[in-house]
Amino acid sequence: MKTTLTALATLTAGLLFSTHSLAHHSFAAEFDADKKLDIAGVVTKVEWTNPHTYFWIEVEGKEGVDVWGFEMGSPNGLMRRGWTKDTLAIGTEVIVRGTQARDGSTRGNAQAVILADTCTRLFAGTSQRDFVEDESAKVEGCTPKQ
């Protein structure tokens, strides 16, 4: 009985932790560094989860609205870069620069998020190894809306 209980408890704990492990992967396994994205939309959802933070935007297209989902760094990593839980409030207009998923779906890895109101650029803690954050570079294609 004791052995069965121990095995059951260990299995349960293992299953729970496995979901976190599955979410952790290499950049190259999921995203294509050659598929550059520069896309504007409105934030509809943010999930501050480990090991990655995710957010979704609605993008107005010619044939309606597309929903794009983006992966960023860990919540702790983003907070160390100055992000707060209110940085990407629902309804915030953003321009996202990053790379698209290998499968061509509307998912991507964000390198930088530009707040459209102020043209403030926030680095998104991408896991792309050769990405260099260049804070001196101009935020092109953005005119402050306020």
Partner: protein, 126 residues
């Protein structure tokens, strides 16, 4: 000793999942369309919050947000009514929440009235 540690971690994991199950069914970010009787489609986003059962929120949250003037839920029929003073005129959305157990496909479907115009709406939680 090992079994106690294993049970402790299992309980810890389960408690985290249980914690995530709380929340008002209307609370959250919703996206959808209003379709007028003449077929004109207007995209809208709703952000609804809950303060101890009292609902509030905004239509099109962001720079051009419009605060909801009144949000009520009849829990017996899951009928949610939203009033907002939009620039184009006061709007009243009346519809039912469904798929309440769904995390990603919860729906808010019904009819709206804005001045003399009427139509249908269909929102899905984001």
């Amino acid at each position: 000793m090992f079994s106690r540690i294993a049970i402790f971690f299992a309980c810890l994991g389960l408690s985290a999942l249980l914690w995530a199950q709380t929340g008002h069914p209307a609370k959250g970010s919703w996206s959808g369309n209003l379709t007028s009787a003449s077929g004109e489609v207007t995209r809208l986003r709703l952000l609804i919050d809950d303060h101890n059962g009292e609902l509030s929120g905004a239509v099109n949250p962001g720079r051009n947000a419009v605060e909801m003037s009144k949000v009520t839920l009849d829990a017996a029929t899951w009928t949610l009514t939203i009033n907002a003073k939009m620039p184009e005129g006061d709007v009243v959305l009346t519809g039912k929440l469904s798929n309440l157990g769904s995390w990603l496909n919860r729906k808010y479907v019904g009819t709206y009235k804005q001045g003399s115009a009427t139509g249908n709406f269909d929102f899905t939680i984001n």
